[in-house]
């Protein structure tokens, strides 16, 4: 069962705050009450300091009372994945080895940009240890708290889905923004690799790591992204444009990838994807079936590049205190440490080839975007180790969840993930729009048009009702 009240969005809330229809203190109190009521089960949050937050909110209300245009995110409550530095908070990364680490002296660049644009930083959100996986324990999925939220930005996605934040910061190395967005039924934006600063973000795999926003809608993701990119002055124009509608996709050519992206997926995921393609055509887009034979290779490139680079990140820990690493991280780092230089060079070379190959797909078919399912399955139970498909085949959860997302880390392209339906158990299903490098806003326009033609984004999990 889902709640029917329209969820708060950043755009609407910013307008209410500016118009004096809502105060930041009122908004914060609403969220703190929701955290109090639901977070014992969902466990999205790590470090929330109500008294400090209420003081900050009161200061923001005083700023809003001054007759001057406030920064666009003033008073908007956001969560920060706990591999990202926030001044005055520890960055523990869910790792035993970092439990006594000093607090960060300054914000990560992208967090500093949010703060400068007025955001109310509510606290840190749960992540997978070292961001290396999709479970995000102990956080649970608000749609069914026996299930995982996905990861590694699971806490940020669960907090947004649960209505305890209007946006969250995620990072994406093999799908860590898009996977939890899909499993929790919210939107996520993985920008082009290298587009945003990674300074102040604990690394997993430096040549793949990409920070990005998670929020209720594409419009909200775009606003958060523009702030992260120090382009907040563009936010009002984007919001105005989206407010005018923009639901036609006439003239847009959208590529549809199947085979690698649809051969091994749950039936409900395939059905929702097929319906999404029909919906895009109905919105005016020209649907272009296309093939990318290098997709599996791209996935291999992302997966093992990440393992080798994470072995470098944890080279001291794995040698001196491996007992402080959880099993999944230790397994991954050990394999990465043992892979020979020959493997590394082959991965690097193959990466150039997969980038060329996907570029030629866009060129040959004159594509504005590609669509594909975000994950092959809906949120697995936390007690399970494998995803089971209708044909009886099974796949380890981490491998399954990253399988369709990883290729886009190898190519470095921007991706917008949105909900596109629900399975028979009421669990969200995700759809990915994949764009050309550095064309985040053009891609978001397409994803926004699809999103606003449906009500999937408005549905709230039962924990909120």
């Amino acid at each position: 069962m889902t709640a029917t009240t329209r969820p708060r969005t950043i755009r609407d809330t910013a307008t209410q705050l500016r118009n004096g229809d809502l105060s930041v203190v009122e908004l914060l109190n609403e969220l703190l009450a929701r955290i109090e009521a639901t977070d014992r089960d969902v466990q999205a949050w790590l470090d929330v300091r109500p008294r400090f937050l209420l003081e900050t909110a009161a200061t923001m209300d005083r700023r809003l009372a001054v007759p001057r245009t406030p920064p666009p995110l003033l008073g908007i409550p956001l969560g920060i994945k706990d591999i990202v530095d926030v001044a005055g908070y520890q960055t523990v990364c869910n790792m035993a080895s970092r439990e006594t680490i000093d607090v960060a002296a300054r914000d990560a660049d992208v967090v500093g940009n949010w703060r400068r644009d007025g955001a109310l930083l509510v606290g840190k959100t749960v992540t997978q240890p070292a961001a290396a996986g999709v479970i995000s324990d102990p956080c649970r999925n608000p749609w069914d708290t026996d299930r995982i939220p996905g990861g590694s930005s699971g806490g940020s996605a669960a907090a947004v889905a649960n209505g305890t934040a209007l946006g969250g910061l995620g990072t994406d190395t093999g799908g860590s923004i898009r996977i939890p967005a899909a499993l929790c039924g919210v939107a996520g934006l993985k920008p082009t690799y290298g587009r945003l600063s990674g300074k102040g973000i604990f690394p997993l795999s430096a040549s793949l790591d990409t920070p990005g926003p998670i929020a209720r809608t594409v419009a909200d993701c775009v606003a958060l992204y523009l702030s992260m990119a120090k382009r907040a002055d563009e936010i009002p124009a984007v919001w105005d444009r989206y407010a005018e509608g923009g639901t036609s996709l006439t003239g847009k050519r959208i590529g549809v990838l199947r085979s690698f992206f649809t051969d091994q997926v749950q039936d409900a995921v395939r059905a929702a994807f097929d319906e999404a393609v029909v919906a895009l055509e109905r919105l005016g887009a020209e649907i272009v079936p296309c093939d990318w034979p290098e997709a599996a290779g791209a996935r291999t490139v992302a997966m093992y590049t990440s393992r080798i680079e994470s072995a470098q990140v944890h080279r001291d820990l794995i040698r001196n205190n491996p007992e402080l690493m959880n099993d999944a991280l230790r397994d991954r780092v050990e394999v990465g440490a043992l892979l020979p230089a020959d493997a590394w060079f082959r991965l690097r070379s193959a990466r150039l080839a997969v980038r060329d190959s996907i570029a030629s797909v866009y060129r040959e078919h004159r594509l504005d975007a590609i669509v594909a399912p975000t994950t092959p399955a809906t949120a697995p139970l936390a007690s399970e180790t494998h995803v089971t498909y209708e044909d009886g085949s099974r796949e380890e959860i981490g491998a399954a969840m990253t399988r369709l997302a990883g290729p886009w880390n190898a190519t470095g392209q921007p991706v917008v993930a949105v909900p596109c339906g629900f399975d028979g158990q009421g669990l969200p299903i995700g759809l990915s729009f994949i764009g050309r490098p550095d064309e985040e806003l053009a891609l978001a326009d397409i994803a926004h048009a699809y999103e606003q033609a449906h009500d999937f984004w408005m549905r709230m999990p039962p924990s909120v009702s």
Partner: protein, 71 residues
């Protein structure tokens, strides 16, 4: 994988671990050997892509660059 192959894979893990000064407990070696085999097999499957992306092996260079005949 037969016993002999498994033993060889495990020996490779011991050797590589020593080369990179990675302490690995003996009871972790069978699983690690399997994971490393899987990784190497997966990376083997991208051989053509790796050659296409360069820098090429000597064989790929010789096969792919036009030759003017024997002097």
């Amino acid at each position: 994988m037969n016993q002999e192959e498994a033993a060889r894979s495990q020996e490779r893990v011991r050797h590589l671990a020593e080369m990179v000064s990675l302490p690995v407990e003996e009871d972790r070696i069978p699983a690690l050997a399997e994971a490393l085999d899987a990784a190497l097999a997966a990376i083997d499957t991208i051989g053509e892509l790796a050659d296409a992306g360069g820098p090429p092996s000597a064989e790929a260079y010789d096969a792919g660059w036009p030759k003017g005949g024997r002097r």
